[in-house]
Every structure is written in structure tokens, then in C-alpha cells.
Amino acid sequence: MREYTERIREAAKRLLSEQRVDTVIGFRRGTVPFMNEPFLVKSVDQVDQLYWDSNCGINLANYLPKRTDRVAVVAKGCDSRNIVVHLLENQINRDQLYILGAPCRGMVDKRRMMADLKGKEPLHAEENGKEIKVSGRGFQVTFDRQTYLQSNCAICTHRNPVVYDELLGDPVEEQQGVDRYPDVRRIEAMSVDERWRYFQELIAPCIRCYACRNACPLCYCPTCFVDESRPQWVGKTIDPTDTLTFHFLRAYHMAGRCTDCGSCERACPVGIEVRKFTKKLEKEVKELYGYEAGVIPDQRPPLDTFKPGDPEPFIK
């Protein structure tokens, strides 16, 4: 994926100097390995800081809602689906956007690599197509890229951008025959008490920092329900009921909109698998209404519409 770096720099230089856009949103290298950071470029002399490798998991669509300038944005498959969701929800106009589509082979999970380094501090990471070479003081390790993919990337079925103005590389082959929901089915098979305990344990480490909310491109409400005080739906403490209410409602707000980009999980400082909440909704929406978020640009989101014959087995 490194080869995109030059393409992104070239496109950014061209778009900025021709004044096609005011801002380019991409990534630049972080100060430590595996930690690329989102970067807003406003002038041509910053263009060479733009960078791309397998650590660009943050969803850049997060920086688009309610922008007033013309922006170019680098978009992986999931980012482009979130851009479609933004367009459907009138968060930005298509003519403000110049989308640099990045066909993606998945981003790597920093957390699992760090765990396997067992406390050794990586100082430098270099990758080619298949491997990631990590070195630090007195050690060198090679990780296989494919085995360290983020869990959502491993089951991704939309690697190529769905909307774009320009592609940064040839489209990649989509993964076929992926089972997206083995973990959901495993939880569904539990008894109700087991499920309760499972989710209690899942969110037990939560410190209510709201990183999952802030990293999510769908969370753009001017006032989030957790910040409302009259009425106050959720307490601000780390009381288990409050924490579960937060995670439940956060996930519920993603119903039919979540593209499973994994930003929430990547952002979580304590490593909670928050996608366990959203994936069930994704599965339900697909089964009940045959909808996948952000794939078809002119299809209304499932909770924004209805059909006369929608399934209602739960209603008396």
C-alpha cells in the first residue's frame, strides 16, 4: 500500500495548486510506529508530509460533516461508504468533495502486534506488500500482514471505494465467501443470562472516555445524548448501568448506518470490542430489510423509510 503515498502527494499537489480544493485530508506519519495520524493539508508546501501505509485505519469521513470548504479526501472502501452515508444525511455536498479512492487490502491491528512484542518497544516499522518488519533496540521481528489485519478488515467485503473521483491504484479483488457473523451467532446461541454477563464483562473496563464516539464518522450530533441534561438519559458515572446504556444507545444510533470501519474499536484505549454491539444490528438490518449501509448512493437508510409489509413477528 506504500505506493499510494506518491500518488496521494501528486494528486494533493495538483488539486491544491490548481485550486480545485482548499483542503486535502489524508494521513501523515505518527511520531511512533503504527500510529499514523489524520492530517489536513492546506498548502502545497505541506504536501510531502502526506503518507500511506497499513496503519491508516482511522475513518477520514469523520472530518467531513458540515465543512464549508472544498475538500479532497483519501477514502478506503469503508471511508467511501461513510461518505455516501454523509451525502444521504445531507452532511456535505457531493460537489464540495473530491474523493481520492484507495482500494484497500486491510489495515493492521497495532494492538495485536504490540501484544506479540511482549513489552519490547518498536522504534521503526517498515512494510512491503506482505510483511511488516519491526525493529527496536536489540531486536528485529517480521510480522505477516495478513494475520495481523484488524478484525473488521479480515471480514471486509467492500475493499474498493463505492464513490470516487480518482482511484489511487487498480481495484483490488474483493474477498469472496466471507462469513461476517460467526461471533454474533455465538452470542445469540447463549442464554439470556449468559449474554447479560458477557456484555457486562465486555464493557467492564470502559472508562467512558467517548473515544469510540469521537472516532466514529456517524456521531455528528451537535449535542450527544450522553451530554443532555434535561432530561438526563444517561448518568455520567462509570456505574455499570450507565455504561451499558451508553454503549447500547451508541450502537443503536448506528443501526443501518454503520459500515463496520472499525474506527471505534481502534480508538478504544482499553481495547473493548465495541463492534460486538454494532455487528448484531448490521446483521439484523441485512436480514430484515436487505440493506447494507453506504453501498448504494441513492437508497434511503433503512430507518428513514418503511415498506407496508415489513416483518413484525414481535408485535401482537
Partner: protein, 144 residues
């Protein structure tokens, strides 16, 4: 201690189910007094937060009732609500917050007083079978 009786919060649509409750009363139809009715303008007005808030404050059961599909006073409020509740219902069971038998939905028109009394009895029996709410109750700070 007397036998436990469940507390059930019922969100009833003003234009149908609330009328049905009224008609059931006028017709002297009998059903146990476990439901606390909250009148809402439409089942589409029932925000999922309301249902969570009821459970958080210790309700043993929640019942939402509105007009039959196609009969909504606001044309389509209950049709949007149906999708919203389908996802809410499955997600609440999935996370174990709500055991089967605590959360109920129904369509009852204002003429269906007998159906109202029947469903009310059914809801109350189901919540009794589920027992007192155990999970997901927000403990209030004790004031000295």
C-alpha cells in the same frame, strides 16, 4: 410481605390504544391493575430512550401499543416505529438487557376494547412469569 406485583409502563397511542383502554374501562372489562399508562401522540413518538429509561428506573415490563399499520393518525408514524422497534427489540434481547417476556408491542385500534383487555392480561402474565426486574436498574444515590 405481600405477593410481588409487577409494575408495567404502557406507552399508548392517543388515537387508538389509549381509546381502547378507555373503551375497555367504559365496558367494564376486567384486567389486573399492573399497568401504568403514559399517553403519547403516536407510537412513532416513543423514543427508544423512553423504553430504556423505564427499565433503568426499575419497571418490570414495558408495553408499547399503537394503531394498526395503515391506520396511523399521522399516516406513517407507526410504520417508521415498526422498523425502529424491530431493531430495538432484537438488540435488547441480544445484549441480555431485557429477558424474553418483558418488552411487548401491539397494534390495537380504538374499537378493540376486548383485544386491549386480552393483550393487557397477556402482557401482565408474561411479565409475572419473567419475575421482578433484576438487571439494568440504575441505583439512585442515597440521600441522607
Amino acid at each position: 410481605m405481600s405477593e410481588w406485583e409487577p409494575k408495567i409502563v404502557a406507552f399508548l397511542c392517543n388515537w387508538c390504544s389509549y381509546g381502547a383502554a378507555d373503551l375497555a374501562g367504559v365496558s367494564r372489562l376486567q384486567y389486573p391493575a399492573n399497568i401504568r399508562i403514559i399517553r403519547v401522540p403516536c407510537s412513532g413518538r416513543v423514543n427508544p430512550k423512553f423504553i430504556l429509561a423505564a427499565f433503568r428506573s426499575g419497571a418490570d415490563g414495558v408495553w408499547v401499543s399503537g394503531c394498526h399499520p395503515g391506520d396511523c393518525h399521522y399516516i406513517e408514524g407507526n410504520l417508521y416505529a415498526r422498523r425502529k422497534f424491530a431493531l430495538l427489540n432484537s438488540q435488547l434481547e441480544y445484549t441480555g438487557i431485557v429477558e424474553p417476556g418483558r418488552l411487548h408491542f401491539s397494534w390495537i385500534s380504538s374499537a378493540e376494547a376486548t383485544k386491549f383487555a386480552e393483550v393487557a392480561r397477556g402482557v401482565i402474565d408474561a411479565v409475572k412469569a419473567a419475575g421482578p426486574a433484576r438487571h439494568f436498574i440504575k441505583k439512585q444515590a442515597e440521600v441522607a
